[in-house]
């Protein structure tokens, strides 16, 4: 089995994007790619926790950001992580303008739909990256 990916979502709580990025992460880690992926708290990296830094340097990481500030991606870069891909919830929203998430604290149905779309993209990317690593 391939080395597990670390999926690291943004921790934004001001807009629905952060909540969508977290729900998408849980959907991958707990449902779609259970056992093949894991997550860690972004705030540990922000604080400079040594164990967290070692983990992101020794595993392939996928950053899931909410907004264009790209806090997850940029904090992974600052931690010299093995960053292999990144996604932004705001881009998923732009491609699905019929969905209009409003709630931040508890996602509404449109927010959940967007999270599922994002989660499928992350899972596909993990498959693609694993496939690339296989020598036939």
């Amino acid at each position: 089995m391939s080395d597990p990916f670390l999926i690291i979502p943004c921790s934004g709580i001001g807009k629905p994007f952060g909540t969508i990025s977290r729900e998408a992460t849980y959907c991958v880690v707990e449902d779609l790619k259970k056992g093949e992926t894991d997550t860690i708290c972004l705030s540990l990296l922000v604080m400079g926790d040594e164990d967290a830094k070692l983990r992101v340097r020794s595993h392939r990481c996928i950053a899931i950001d909410g907004c264009p500030n790209e806090c997850a991606k940029r904090n992974l870069e600052l931690s010299e992580a093995k960053l292999v891909a990144n996604f932004r919830a705001v881009d998923i929203l732009r491609k699905n303008r019929n969905l209009k998430p409003k709630n931040v604290t508890f996602l509404d149905e449109d927010g959940r739909k967007l999270a599922r779309i994002l989660a499928k993209k992350i899972a596909l990317k993990a498959d693609e990256l694993n496939h690339k690593g296989v020598v036939s």
Binding site: S11, I13, T39, C41, L44, D49
Partner: protein
């Protein structure tokens, strides 16, 4: 005179249910309990050099809402901006209240939502305490 703004900074805590309670409690304060003077700040913005966040936390009192004893929020604020005015640790509060079975990190159950509201009330009490101190000084 308007009420002074207070920053409430939640740990991100994606890995544990206490982190989820921290974030939801912070949202309850912002949405329901003290919308007029609560400012929430995304913790990761501090380290990527966002001056707005750093300056706000230097100029206004902040409350760190921590999921666990690692106290990421408080440590980050103190590293980039200065001392926090108050700090709450959700795991300690849950232990003190004897609360168990709050649901998962992904989705709080009713017990978890009640606990988040109680944490939100603790944040409000800390805000009132800070405002009283400001009042006493002026």
């Amino acid at each position: 005179m308007s009420t002074p703004a207070i920053g409430v900074v939640s740990c991100s805590g994606e890995c544990c249910v206490e982190g989820t309670i921290s974030r939801i409690a912070t949202r309850f304060v912002l949405e329901k309990l003290r919308p007029e003077n609560t400012v929430t700040i995304c913790l990761p913005l501090f380290s990527i050099g966002e001056e707005g966040e750093r300056t706000f936390a230097k100029d206004f009192p902040t409350i760190a809402v921590e999921g666990c004893e690692k106290r990421c929020a408080g440590n980050v604020i103190e590293k980039f901006s200065g001392k926090t005015a108050r700090s709450l640790v959700v795991s300690n509060l849950l232990k003190k209240w004897g609360v168990n079975g709050t649901g998962s990190r992904r989705e709080l159950n009713d017990e978890g939502k009640k606990a988040a509201l109680k944490v939100a009330e603790e944040i409000v009490a800390a805000m009132d305490d800070i405002l009283q101190e400001v009042d006493d000084r002026t």
